[in-house]
């Protein structure tokens, strides 16, 4: 099958990639760009494990075609840390037990980042609502809520984290 050629920005880096036109953004990230931090749990848009930011908005990368991302800016979990420093959400998730098996964690992190970018002071209810499309089977969500709350206020101090 003839490959399509797409130019996009991935975690701040201008990137060109060629792939079969039926491929989803998830597959392009994992298989063609070796960005395996983004996970898959269903490939049907049900679990949220594959969430990435497309121009700053969380999307399920298993439901987005790679060809639709020409010219777009994509942020994956690999793009959260900058200059060797973890994003505040990564620190609070690590410190407060919000990552157990860690498989759903990349999806939760980018979704939570989009929330804090949009609403720097979310309530517990807003956090629950924003993360309601991400399934976690390990934590019972409480330590995830607490990690997001602990990152409030710390994101603005960190530099260079707006995608």
């Amino acid at each position: 099958m003839t490959h399509v050629h797409v130019a996009l920005t991935v975690n701040g880096e201008p990137t060109e990639v060629a792939f079969a036109p039926y491929k989803t953004l998830l597959e392009v990230l994992r298989e063609d760009l070796n960005l395996c931090g983004t996970k898959h749990g269903c490939e049907l848009g049900e679990c949220g494990a594959c969430a990435v930011l497309l121009d700053g908005t969380p999307v399920l990368s298993c439901l987005v075609l790679g060809v639709a991302c020409d010219g777009a800016a994509v942020t994956t979990v690999e793009g959260l840390a900058r200059d060797g420093r973890l994003h505040p959400l990564q620190d609070t998730f690590a410190d407060l037990g919000a990552a157990q098996c860690g498989y759903c964690t990349p999806g939760f992190l980018v979704t939570a980042k989009a929330l804090l970018d949009e609403h720097p002071q979310p309530t517990r209810e807003q956090i629950k609502e924003a993360l309601s499309g991400n399934l976690c089977r390990c934590t019972g969500y409480q330590q995830i809520f607490e990690a997001v709350e602990a990152a409030i206020g710390r994101t603005s101090q960190a530099q260079g984290h707006r995608s």
């Binding site: 994992r30 298989e31 070796n34 960005l35 395996c36 931090g37 983004t38 996970k39 898959h40 749990g41 269903c42 490939e43 049907l44 049900e46 679990c47 494990a49 994956t76 979990v77 690999e78 959260l80 840390a81 973890l86 959400l89 990564q90 620190d91 998730f93 690590a94 410190d95 407060l96 037990g97 990552a99 157990q100 098996c101 860690g102 498989y103 759903c104 964690t105 990349p106 992190l109 956090i127 629950k128 609502e129 993360l131 309601s132 499309g133 991400n134 399934l135 976690c136 089977r137 390990c138 934590t139 019972g140 969500y141 409480q142 330590q143 995830i144 809520f145």
Partner: protein, 818 residues
């Protein structure tokens, strides 16, 4: 204590939050091919013909395998070697793998599946345990206790009938616990490759690399020393990755044949069909009590829908009757269990393995008993809690028991005394308790070797590497390993590297199941670290001229407890020891204490120590719609000692979460397609959207408290926490429903539909209840009589005078082996 007991960032946290944890499907090897499985579309049939000619000719296809390539059976239990990697002559459920295609990419492999022609000759389909009990033929398997009965168990500890006769009341209740599945977010994946030296390596999302190692060597008929199994970090397991799986054996075979790496990653639908999850269980519980609430005797009967293969089923069957006795004192106890084969995906171990089902019935029945005797349910339980340091009727050794304190903590925190039976209509609270093993006392295959081993290598830099076969499935086992070593050696956890779950590099640990890893690996790690500490102390003692018993290991130093300035850095201590004794490496291992049970079946239930939990659940119910909401759960867990409280709390809350799913919504159920469409038994909703599990919006607030009385058998006193806290929540929900609206829902999941039906029954004057009407008739074998300790028993079964053992029918092959 510097490390132990302090809330800490787990050692593998950075990898997880940066996306660097390498799960099985993240492995990409040069020249790697991809595998897809063709699965049966019929539930029970003879395979007449498999023709893969067209698939083999497809460009991009490298290999097609069928059942002919896998003549040797395997299975997790030695008594249930009933699986083949690809079906041979017979398929037993929709989803049973029949053929495998290995191709240049997943799409090519997937498309080639359609080119394989399979001709089936349908056989009678068994959809329910009742059907399997009613028809002996055709047999789904040619082994088992009778017809389509896989396993029949009948055990008696003391005279239950006499106990009932001596009681004031006998309560007789029937319950049903629907099956449900693990639903790990990571789908199973495996990669196999032939190493440059010709040996086989399999990387897999497995909880039990040691057992996969054994199964691969057996099923592929290659020497075990030529096989290496690496357990990649699991993206959630919950018991669902504890069996050796057909897809693992298939890619291993393909890699050997093709001499190229081969990967498989299951689709979410395939994960639902692999299952090995919670057995659906219908149960009857008869309990005799005196008017003061004390139990005189208990008789438990269970019927398990096992699905199409043995899996862990024999153990699951025993577990449905094993742990009733460790929570409350039961002077006479009888258990009868029956597991049947049906043409559905095989059931196996899910968090709590066989014990949540009967615990559900037991704790609801206690609620009914309390009400009938006009006792508060918490007071009743406090009266009958098992005593510490007790041998139970079925020979389980209870050591420390924090159950009473758990009950007091949750009732205090939830304001139980002023709220139970006093909340407005539609709101209610319920209480339930439970217990779980801290590791099975016996291995899956009988042997006298340790259950867990740890090796340490101490480097001149002061860095320590800890090797152990334990498997990180998200529960934090690497953190436990590192934490125990760091504590004993007085160094920082960041100084220790964990190398785990690799059958070539690490000593055997039996795997992440039965809540065994913290206790067994932890004790092995402490032993290895203490041996290293002794070597270092010896060398430092000579250098400083201070006796070894005055040396302290803390803060990356080894120093004189009477003069802290006199000391050396930890790295220097290693160098001194290396100069004195040579390369510094130590080993530790752990074998559980010998069980007191010496009867057949007594291998299931013994544990070095038991954890205890109590939960109070609050519910809100709309009687017009039956809609049920759980706003809050209070839970207290007897952990012995929390090694890393952050992770312990995560296990408790994760258990409560999974329990809420089981209580309210999760069910693995099947429907028949119409006969003209094949009469298949298919999963009702094999997708994460339709198989309902709790989201952030469904999760109640959880109040967690840990009861910490160190247990002498636990590492630094620790007990398990991964499974036990799930168990009390489901019955506490059911008891809260009764408190709220006065109806009993004697089964899970407790759905709005069932609530409405129970309310309808109540208003029509019928029993205010939803649940099974009766326990099916089963022709039980004569019970094995084991006198309890207080009747002079020694853990052995009484030989029955009219049925001497010699006259028991023994199959010829079994007799020869003896």
């Amino acid at each position: 204590m510097n490390t132990i007991g302090t809330p800490r960032r787990r050692v593998d946290a950075r990898a997880k939050v940066t996306g660097q944890t390498r799960f099985a499907d993240d492995l990409m090897l040069p020249r790697m091919l991809h595998c897809k499985l063709l699965r049966s579309t019929v539930p029970h049939a003879r395979i007449v013909r498999v023709d893969a000619t067209r698939a083999q000719r497809r460009p991009g296809v490298h290999l097609v395998l069928t059942g002919d390539d896998f003549p040797i059976p395997y299975g997790i239990l030695p008594v249930s070697q009933d699986e083949h990697a690809l079906a041979r002559g017979r398929v037993r459920f929709v989803g049973d793998p029949v053929a495998a295609v290995i191709a240049r990419d997943e799409l090519t492999a997937f498309e080639a599946l359609d080119l394989i022609d399979v001709e089936y000759e349908p056989l009678r389909t068994f959809a329910s345990p009742e059907e399997s009990l009613a028809h002996d033929e055709p047999r789904i398997h040619d082994y088992g206790d009778r017809g389509n009965i896989h396993k029949l168990v009948s055990l008696s500890f003391g005279d239950v009938d006499a106990a009932f006769a001596a009681s004031d009341r006998v309560f007789d209740d029937v319950f049903f616990y629907q099956g449900n599945t693990h639903l790990p977010i990571e789908q199973h994946a495996a990669v196999a490759a032939r190493d440059p030296d010709g040996k086989l390596t399999l990387w897999s999302s497995t909880q039990t690399p040691h057992y996969v190692h054994r199964a691969l060597a057996r099923a592929l008929d290659i020497p075990p020393a030529q096989v290496r199994v690496v357990a990649t970090p699991n993206g959630g397991g919950f018991g669902g990755k504890s069996d050796p799986f057909n897809h693992e054996i298939v890619v291993a075979k393909a890699a050997l044949v093709l001499d190229r790496p081969v990967k498989i990653c299951l689709t979410r639908e395939e994960v639902f069909y692999c299952h090995r999850g919670r057995h659906p269980v219908v149960m009857r519980l008869r309990t005799g009590v005196r008017n003061d609430g004390t139990i005189t005797g208990m008789h438990v009967q269970t019927l398990l829908d096992g699905g199409a293969y043995g899996s862990y089923g024999v153990a699951s069957t025993f577990y449905t009757g094993a742990l009733q006795t460790v929570t409350y004192h039961i002077p006479a106890y009888a258990f009868q269990g029956c597991r049947v084969f049906t043409n559905k995906p095989p059931c196996g171990p899910k968090r709590g393995h066989g014990t949540p089902q009967t615990r559900f019935g037991q704790e609801i029945q206690l609620d009914k008993i309390a009400e009938a005797l006009k006792l508060d349910p918490a007071d009743l339980r406090l009266r009958i809690v098992e005593r510490p340091d007790t041998l139970t009727a079925n020979y389980l050794r209870v050591g420390t028991i924090g159950l009473a304190e758990c009950i007091r903590r949750v009732t205090t925190a939830s304001d139980w005394g002023t709220r139970f039976r006093r909340l407005p209509a539609g709101r209610g609270i319920g209480l339930a308790c439970s217990s779980y093993l801290s590791g099975a006392g016996l291995p899956i295959y009988w042997n006298d070797m340790p259950h867990s081993g740890v090796q340490l290598k101490l480097d001149r830099s002061g860095g320590v590497t800890a090797f152990c076969g334990a498997t990180e499935i998200g529960q934090g086992s690497d953190d436990v390993l590192v934490g125990c070593v760091a504590e004993v050696l007085g160094i920082d956890p960041s100084d220790v590297r964990a190398v785990t779950g690799d059958t070539d590099l690490t000593p055997v640990d039996l795997g992440s199941y039965s809540s065994r890893v913290t206790l067994m690996m932890g004790n092995a790690a402490i032993q290895a670290a203490e041996r290293a500490r002794d070597l270092l102390a010896d060398a430092v003692s000579r250098k400083l001229g201070v006796p070894t018993d005055r040396l302290v290991f803390a803060g990356r130093r080894v120093f004189d407890t009477e003069n802290a300035d006199a000391g050396v850095a930890f790295a220097e201590a290693v160098q001194l020891a290396e100069a004195a004794f040579g390369t510094i490496g130590t080993v530790g291992s752990y074998t559980p204490p010998r069980s007191a049970a010496r009867f057949k079946g007594g291998g299931v239930g013994p544990s070095p120590t038991y954890s205890y939990s109590a939960a109070v659940v609050e519910v809100e119910i709309d009687p017009a719609t039956g809609w049920i909401r759980v706003p809050k759960v209070w839970i207290a867990h007897d952990i012995g000692r929390a090694l890393n409280p952050t992770l312990v709390r995560g296990q408790v809350e994760g258990s409560v979460y999974m329990a809420i799913g089981e209580a309210l919504m999760e069910e693995q159920t099947f429907r028949r397609l119409r006969p003209r469409l094949s009469d298949a038994l298919v999963h009702k909703f094999p997708s994460m959207l339709e198989y309902k599990s709790p989201t952030t919006l469904d999760m109640p607030e959880v109040w967690t408290e840990l009861v910490e009385h160190p247990d002498p058998n636990g590492p630094f006193g620790a007990k398990e926490v991964g499974q036990g806290p799930l168990l009390p929540v489901m019955p506490a929900v059911a008891n809260a429903v009764y408190d709220a609206i006065g109806v009993r829902i004697d089964e899970v999941p407790i759905t709005p539909e069932k609530i409405l039906k129970a309310l309808d029954a109540k208003s029509a004057g019928r029993p205010a209840r939803y649940g099974p009407a009766a326990f099916p008739a089963i022709d039980w074998p004569e019970a094995l009589q084991v006198p309890p300790p207080w009747e002079g028993g020694d853990g052995r079964a009484h030989p029955s005078p009219d049925r001497p053992l010699a006259s028991r029918h023994v199959p010829a092959t079994e007799a020869v082996r003896r």
